[in-house]
């Protein structure tokens, strides 16, 4: 069990904010940490890693990482950290990056096998693609067999295909190494696929905490098929209207009656929903 009860004042772009977190995370859980930027997600990860200090207590099982007397150093916390920008040692080759953490060559080759990077182990990291760099960063984070794996938006810089591949590898490694994992992510499909618990932060506080389905299924009333979008245009068509709405990277059209149209304002964020019985799947 990882017990976190910390308090810290942050100086964000929108003024001072209290990061005030009191949560317990079960061993081997995969927790997705999400919320708007500036909500304290990265600070929470850095505090867990020992890169930032805070008031309060952090306990992993019976080991004290932080309390009023102790503030355990980063290297003594049994953590692995994966950053968004890889943070590899650029003067070293792939294998050296891993062995720098721990001289265990067997473990290094096992990790490179799982991530299909064995053929590249002598390559300079500067010659690799973003996806390859992040896999090395992930392998390196596991070289000291961490109890806690922390990942700060590890896949956000990668294209969708590479993202999906790495999601699978992250899941394999999480299970193989039996880590407790906390990952910052904004991608609902990624959160749903990887995590068994989602914690949503807003302005330094936990505002939602539950299973991915409970947290991510944005239901209003009994509608199960629900999205937020932006109303771009309303086009008159006979006695009804067509509302053009952007959702993510897509544009959709919805037929609305004159009565329904009266409450709509172009440019506003709208909730688009229908019942689970209506959509077609092909």
């Amino acid at each position: 069990m990882l017990s976190i009860n910390i308090n810290k004042t942050l100086h964000g772009s929108s003024g001072e904010m209290d990061l005030d977190i009191n949560i317990k995370i079960k061993e081997h859980d995969f927790v997705a940490l999400t919320g708007e930027s500036g909500s304290g997600k990265t600070t929470l990860l850095r505090t867990l890693a020992g890169l930032d200090d805070a008031k309060g207590k952090i306990l992993l099982g019976n080991d004290v990482w932080l309390d009023s007397k102790i503030n355990l150093a980063v290297q003594k916390r049994q953590i692995g950290f994966v950053f968004q920008d890889y943070a590899l040692f650029e003067n070293m080759n792939v294998e050296e990056n891993l062995l720098f953490i721990n001289k265990d060559k067997d473990l290094a080759s096992k990790l490179l096998n799982i991530t299909e990077l064995s053929a590249l182990k002598k390559r300079a990291v500067t010659t690799l693609s973003g996806g390859q760099k992040q896999r090395i960063s992930l392998c390196r984070a596991l070289m000291n067999r961490p109890k806690l794996l922390l990942m700060d938006e590890p896949l956000s810089a990668l294209d969708p295909k590479m993202r999906e591949k790495l999601q699978n590898e992250i899941l394999i490694l999480h299970k193989e190494f039996k880590t407790t994992t906390i990952m910052v992510s904004h991608d609902p499909s990624e959160i749903y696929k990887l995590s068994n618990r989602v914690i949503v932060l807003n302005k330094g506080k936990v505002i939602n905490d539950g299973s991915p389905k409970d947290v991510l299924l944005k239901t209003t009333g009994s509608a199960k098929f629900s999205f937020e979008g932006k109303l771009l245009e309303i086009i008159k068509a006979d006695v009804i209207y067509i509302a053009v709405i952007s959702i993510g990277q897509q544009i959709v059209e919805v037929a609305v009656s004159q009565e329904e149209m009266k409450n709509l304002t172009i440019g506003n964020t709208v909730n688009l929903s229908t019942k689970a019985f209506t959509p077609n799947i092909k």
Partner: protein
Amino acid sequence: MSYITAKVTHIDTFENINIVQFISNEHSLSMMSLSVSDKINLGTKVRLAVKPTHIAIAKNITGSLSYSNQLDSTITDIQNGKLLSSVMLKCNDIDFESIITLNSSIRMNLKVGDNVIALIKASDLSIDEIIDV
């Protein structure tokens, strides 16, 4: 959306499917749903919603229909376009709208003041919000 205020009178559940019964001004209504919020119980007052394009209209019907929701209504206004017809309906105190094809509207000779039955499938009725627990 057309809205109907109603009170939950019965919930049948089987394998994640629910049939929720409501009463609204003596009219009973029925909704098909996947999981229902645990805030919705017997006696809960809700606002039901249905898309105007999901409301059919019947006149002088005989025989039986599978529509779970059949509301005796009066036509209060009709706006005919080139292809579609927007029919405003009143059932007791509830105003709602049906969008049908102009052909149907003409074929049925729909006029303001006509007594008709508004038909809504249980799967097209949804809970928009909980008004009162």
